[in-house]
Symmetry: none
Subunit: 202 residues, 4 copies
DNA sequence: GATGAATGAGTTTTCATTCAT
DNA sequence: GATGAATGAAAACTCATTCAT
């Protein structure tokens, strides 16, 4: 049975990590249904059965991999934007970093953008669960702060969050599934320009 | 074997339609992989084998359902916006209708927003295929026209298309997967306001 | 339901014949299990259902095709050897004709040599049925006559039948499945020579 | 996936053997197409899936069973005839043993005589493959040696091989499919007598 | 704890056969 | 009689999961 992460020894933690990394890799490239447990165990250099010592089942492995991937990305991004003075600068930087991270790891885009939506049963069972929740909440927080700082006009923070995340998501999905059909950096600048206009203080 | 749609009798066309409708319904609720052909055939009141008289296989049924659904939606929407005077009005109306259509048929949102991304094999086989292509192209065309009419400033049409479609898509996905957590119409107005500001002529 | 052949009109008889011919053709080339009723009906220019007006089922069609093919071959061969004076000449001629017939229609060899053995259930149901029975009996009769005429020594007729038919069958199967790896006529002469030596009057 | 036979543990080898034996049994009685994998797995006391740990697919199981059966029979027969002084004695003994082996295991006759010809696809894919090749070659070698030893006259070795194998094959098929309608041993003696006459040195 | 051989449930697709027209 | 659209039973094979070692 999958065990609580906190009760594991160092050796076990590194084994668990190897499994998670292998899982992200395999799920990203093959998709949830075509990914075989044996692919993941082979890549992680463990036996098939070992995976079940750390995770309850395949779906739980997918969800765990999601959670930890997003958490690690978010931690890294929070750290990198911490030097920025204003909330708006942090938000802009966040957008930049989002694009950077995913440009460097296109497989991760597939994983987050596509696999995320492949467990409808899971959503049915846990409608409130959303691995992106924290990520999106962070964006909304930056927006609220920017409004408080009066760097941007007092738009609805939820609405702006939807615009920003939805656009980032679709931008990267298009770029990724269509094999980089445009310059991501240039396109990002153009998008930021439009959105900035929409929220600037007159 | 799947047959050419044009060679079918009226009776056959209605049977084919029943299958497509059942397929959209089942795929929407269960996802491609968990949807069983027998679920679809039962809902359509035909035998399993009958589906294979009209479609080559399960994937072909998914793709056909997509194509026909999007085409019918697009035709309807094109018709409804044809009265609008300016391209910008048509674009705005298009956004409204998009939300209306999907509000009325939440299963369709799931189908388009989620299932769309669930046939990775298909995309590998036909990387250029994208059932949303025409839909997205139409949005971009409205944007280009609006710029020509000088109703909006001369932003990059591709960038604005990404913003509009990405936002619409995410707005509806959030609203749909989280069981309508906010007023869709109000949220839409707020989003339109922000984007309009971003593209208005000073 | 399959009907008695004798109650059919001329038109029906020709339809039945077309089906039998198509069946031999398709069974020969595809084998019983890969042959589809629709292949046969298409080749015979009738509807699938029509076949069931003349034959009870697929297996019955196979068996009927066998029977009629062998009967027609046997009738033809009996006619052709009727001019030969002695039973031994008729037997020798029969062997020659056997080879000729199958050289001209290799598909028929496959049909008789291979498909013949593919209905084990059928043999279980009707252990006494053997479509080759009459054919083999005829060989044995020629042997018995030859012995009576003292053209050959008084060997056991059954034993010699087994040698002659077994050799003919294997000769043609080898020649047919291995794509004519030797000169059939020359090999036949060599075989006949050996067997003749074995049965000649000292 | 089917594994290399040499890399298996003793336990696995015995499981593999049980599967092969069950396969021969079931294929013999039902024929390739009517034999179900579940019949074989049940008889071998393993799960359906286990068969696929040892063999790639049903056809591969058939072919493997063939190969191993013929090889084991041939090894045994070669050993048993090794004491005979002359090649002609070995050939005669070989014929005797052939009949003995198959008399003791009638199911094996069916398997070799009937199933052998039931994989038309296989022959199409690998036209040169013939599991009986080695067996037949061995007979021809004994014939060539007998001629060299001047025990028999200098007939064409290929022709005589066709006679001997064809006759053995048909003899056993008739005896087997018609439920032992004659004394196999007596019939064999009569056949050997005829053939011997045909090839003796005057 | 780790292993990996064994399990067996589960589903698409084919195609002989039927029967309403 | 003839048609061919519709039926639905049937089976090979995969792979997540288990558990004896």
């Amino acid at each position: 049975m999958g065990q609580n992460k906190r009760m594991l020894s160092d050796k076990q933690l590194s084994k668990r990590k190897a499994i998670i990394e292998a899982a992200i890799n395999v799920f990203s490239h093959k998709g949830f249904h075509k990914a075989k447990i044996s692919n993941i165990s082979k890549l992680a250099n463990v036996a098939d059965g070992t995976i079940y010592l750390y995770f309850n089942n395949k779906e739980n492995l997918l969800v765990s991999a999601f959670d930890e991937l997003i958490e690690s990305i978010l931690v890294e991004m929070k750290d990198k934007i911490s030097n920025e003075k204003s909330a708006l600068d942090r938000l802009t930087k966040f957008f930049d970093l989002h694009v950077d991270v995913f440009t460097e790891q296109p497989a991760v885009v597939r994983f987050l953008a596509i696999e995320l939506r492949q467990s409808p049963d899971f959503y049915e069972l846990y409608p409130s669960y959303n691995p992106l929740k924290e990520y999106i909440s962070f964006i909304e927080k930056l927006i609220i702060d920017s409004i408080k700082e009066k760097s941007i006009r007092a738009v609805d923070s939820r609405a702006l969050t939807l615009i920003i995340f939805g656009t980032m998501d679709f931008l990267l999905t298009e770029w990724s599934t269509k094999n980089q059909p445009f310059s991501l950096v240039e396109m990002k600048e153009k998008i930021v320009d439009i959105i900035r206009w929409g929220i600037r203080i007159k």
